[in-house]
Amino acid sequence: MGKKSVSYAKYGYIFSIPFVVVFLVFSLYPIIYTLIIGFTDLRGLGVKQFQFLKDPFENFKIILANKSFRKSLGNTTMMWIANFIPQVSLALLLTAWFTNRNFKVKGQGAFKILIYMPNIITAATIAILFQSLLGYPKGPINDLLLKLNFIDKPLNFPQQKWTARGAVAFIQFWMWYGNTMIVFIAGVLGINPHLFEAAEIDGATPTQIFFKITLPLMRTIILYVLVTSMIGGLQMFDIPKLFLLGGPDSATVTTSVFIFNQAFSGSYLYNRAAAASMIVFGVIVILSIFLFRLLRDSDEAKMKKFKKEQKRLERLRAKGVEV
């Protein structure tokens, strides 16, 4: 058995070659290259030559002290929080409803399909669609709110900082709560049903079951959604870029929009943009370490089970049992 597996081992390497080569060339190399550019004077459209700066950290210092960059970090954080809290709350509420064992929601499949739908539509399209819908003084949403008597005069969404940020947060929320809900429902369905049965026999109410059993057992999944959403939030680009072009008064400029504007418009400050990218990358690495630990722990358990099963099969085979 041992000899046999050694002779096939080389295929493990061979089959991984395409992945490794492409990863090195198109992922790892650009990351290192970005880092290097962060230490240089590379700027200007079409410029290829660059020199290392006397103070290698100059770009990083300038970026960290840059008011626009700080503001973009603040904007990103605010809009992410304003999208994430309602997103997770509503997703949890819907999860509780859709997995309620005493009352099955009819038409659940259709509701899920409609609620998830905005997630697969091109974000660029959605950004421009909402720009049209939120038109001022006349636009579909203002007209609708006026007709329903929710407001007395049209709201100037695109020109006020807080309504603009609120609108970006709302669009993100609207695009993502369906996705989060489906992930949560999958998590609940993965919980051993005996636990729920036992709790019901003990006379627990559905609310008690949700808060005392479901929620604690979903800790890992909620953490997973939190981390992946944070990493996604740090890259928020399409919506803020196209919805209000970062305005009004840079209130919706996110870090990604900032980096894009530094590098690909104006004076093409590739070096500054690279330094800013690396700072964002640093934050993502810290977040990824959490996620990595999370996935590794749950994977180790899975792999142990798998290996055990393999050993059992080998033992059976050694005994001459047909498997």
Binding site: G12, F15, F19, G107, A124, I126, L129, D238, A263
Partner: protein, 283 residues
């Protein structure tokens, strides 16, 4: 149940559940409904009342204005189709191959390699965009689809997903019996393993395709030639001044980009929803 107050609470609970669910469904549909309807309405009509619940007769004139300017939906569609198809085929095939290498063979670096994949799982393409752009610029491949398609061969998240699927779905005895029958390792993968992975391939293909179709950032920095624009870049043109007052045309342009996704989505919604659920990490 016989207690009337409990029955009332239950009825109230049900009502709230359905009212909220219907409201949220309408919230998903409303923007797109307004968009499709306004695509058929004239600028004057839209200025009079911007929420039209029914179609009008200006579809053709909106179309003429739309394509009379810079927006070319066919070019965007074909380019996006080429890129997304290439990305989907490469990512699905090579992620399966890499996952199979991680699963079926006992090699020394297997565990370190998998740990590495977990570590780079979430690194977004955006953070390395400056280096990526400079690299592509130096090898003269801006305005080419190659740097948009080829990187799909290394998709760590998909490898992770495929490996989890193989762990659950592939009995290694199949591989052993294929060897006994004299099948080469590569042929075994192509003829036996890939068909077993069909359900996983299908869901991952959908997500890969849609993800690539919707991608804006990297194409936006690499493609400057109008004939190479993808659909999302085309859409961003609708934001420009040239369509400023042509409301109907803007809605029509947006509708054209949404329509293919709507068709795919409503045909495959069941699988897509199941795929999202499957992709979620389970304990």
């Amino acid at each position: 149940m016989k207690n009337p107050s409990i029955a009332t609470t239950r009825a109230l609970y049900k009502t709230i559940v359905y009212v909220v669910c219907i409201f949220l469904s309408l919230l998903s549909l409303f923007p797109f409904w307004v968009m499709f309807m306004n695509a058929t309405r004239g600028t004057y009509e839209i200025q009079q009342s911007s929420v039209g619940l029914f179609p009008s007769t200006f579809l053709l004139s909106n179309w003429k204005i739309l394509v009379g300017k810079s927006f070319n939906p066919f070019v965007g569609f074909v380019n996006s189709m080429i890129i997304s198809s290439g990305v989907t085929i490469l990512s699905v095939y090579f992620s399966s191959l890499t996952a199979y290498a991680l699963m079926a063979y006992n090699w020394k670096l297997r565990q370190p390699f998998f740990t590495f994949i977990l570590a780079v799982l979430m690194i977004p393409a955006q953070v390395s965009s400056i280096g990526f752009y400079q690299f592509v610029y130096r090898i003269h491949l801006t305005n080419s689809f190659i740097p948009l398609i080829l990187p799909a061969i290394a998709a760590p998240a998909m490898v992770f997903f495929m490996r989890q699927y193989l762990l659950a779905a592939l009995p290694l005895e199949i591989v052993d019996s294929a060897r006994i029958d004299g099948s080469g390792e590569f042929a075994t993968f192509n003829r036996i393993i890939l068909p077993i992975m069909k359900p996983a391939l299908a869901t991952q293909a959908i997500f890969s395709f849609v993800g690539s179709w919707n991608n804006l950032f990297i194409p936006l920095i690499l493609l400057t030639n109008k004939s190479k624009y993808t659909m999302p870049i085309m859409v961003s043109l609708l934001r420009g001044d040239i369509y400023k007052t042509e409301y109907g045309s803007v809605y029509l342009g947006l509708s054209l980009t949404v329509l293919p996704l709507f068709i795919i989505y409503f045909l495959l919604a069941k699988y897509i929803i199941a795929g999202v659920a499957l992709g979620a990490l389970k304990e």
